[in-house]
């Protein structure tokens, strides 16, 4: 399953939006979920709440998006000790 943040309606995402996204997430039996970060500026609190909510349902979270957009997302995961379960996707063609 792929979660596209820009489909949640706003470019800027706070933890309030994380709660909304998690509440609206459909049932899914897959072991991992991809999160597309493009066109979204996410606050650290948004990412932290999203990660914890997603990891209650999935084994791994794969971060999609351009490298500069992934940087904060990866730092937040690392600071929470979730670096082994929240990982950046390999660049396309690389």
């Amino acid at each position: 399953m792929e979660l596209r943040l820009k489909d949640s309606g706003r470019t800027f995402a706070t933890r309030w939006r994380a709660r909304q996204i998690l509440e609206e997430l459909p049932e899914d039996d897959a072991p991992e979920i991809s999160v597309a970060l493009d066109e979204t500026v996410a606050s650290p609190s948004f990412l932290a709440e999203l990660y914890v909510g997603l990891l209650e349902r999935y084994e791994r979270v794969i971060l999609l998006g351009l490298p500069d957009q992934q940087a904060l997302a990866v730092r937040v995961a690392a600071s929470m000790g979730l670096g082994d379960r929240v990982v950046a996707a390999a660049p396309a063609g690389g």
Binding site: F12, V41, S43, S45, Y51, G53, S79, M80
Partner: protein, 289 residues
Amino acid sequence: MSGPLLPPTELRTVADLAFLSADRRAGDLTIDLHDVRWVAPAGVVALLAQCLGAQRAGRRAAVRLPRDPAVLAYFDRIGMYDELVVNGWSVAPGARAPAAYRIHHHVPVMRITDFAELEEMGIRLEGALRAAGLASLIEPIFTVASELSGNARDHGSDCYAVLQTHTGRTSGTPGVHLAVADFGPGFAANLRPVLGDLPPEECIARAFEEGITSHAEPYRGYGLHHVALAIGAIPGATLDIASGGGLVRLVGSRLDARHFADLPFTVASASFPVPLPVSEVGHGAAPER
């Protein structure tokens, strides 16, 4: 009734806001800005938070407007004048200044009452920074603005936020300035149940550590840590936070904490002294003469 609160003639930094602690928090609140010649963004949001806090406590709040036309024009441009008048906090509502004053690329002062408005502020912030040629600052400044404002919202407080760019032609620091103020319980009141009876400045300082929070959820306590990282990533950037009798200043990775006046609100002021495009030089700073 208490006498009017008299500020220094220039409200440039968070440290200049100590005069607001003289409010006895009973009877009417009057703030006399008549002789003020400079108000930085931290002063804008702090004055509004003080008035809103007084109003919420059932007190009448009134601000005597500055006589300096440059400061009045700045108030007009940044939206402070309207906020004072709309809320009935202006002593002389007819004293609007001519709109000759120019300040480029700003987000007018906003009262943020929910997270949707906080995200709306992000959109305005992006517009201001893109117009100033500072798109690379969108993420770190949104991190700072959203985490500081979001914490206030989580504790049930409205907050005021404002962002502006300065050219620094005549004075001021070139770059981007952001300020947020709220009248929530503050760092010390929130964190003492977790950290123990520490001085307020130490409570603020500890809040920057990973995982320090008054909330039980495992995802809480990381926002301010990443605010510190955002400040540290931009050379010369600073963050000042005053809350509950403590004042913390973060410059790069260095954090200084000291005792300060016990303000009835929490105020945070971030400065990003990045050079502005050459085309910006020569336009208005705040306030410019």
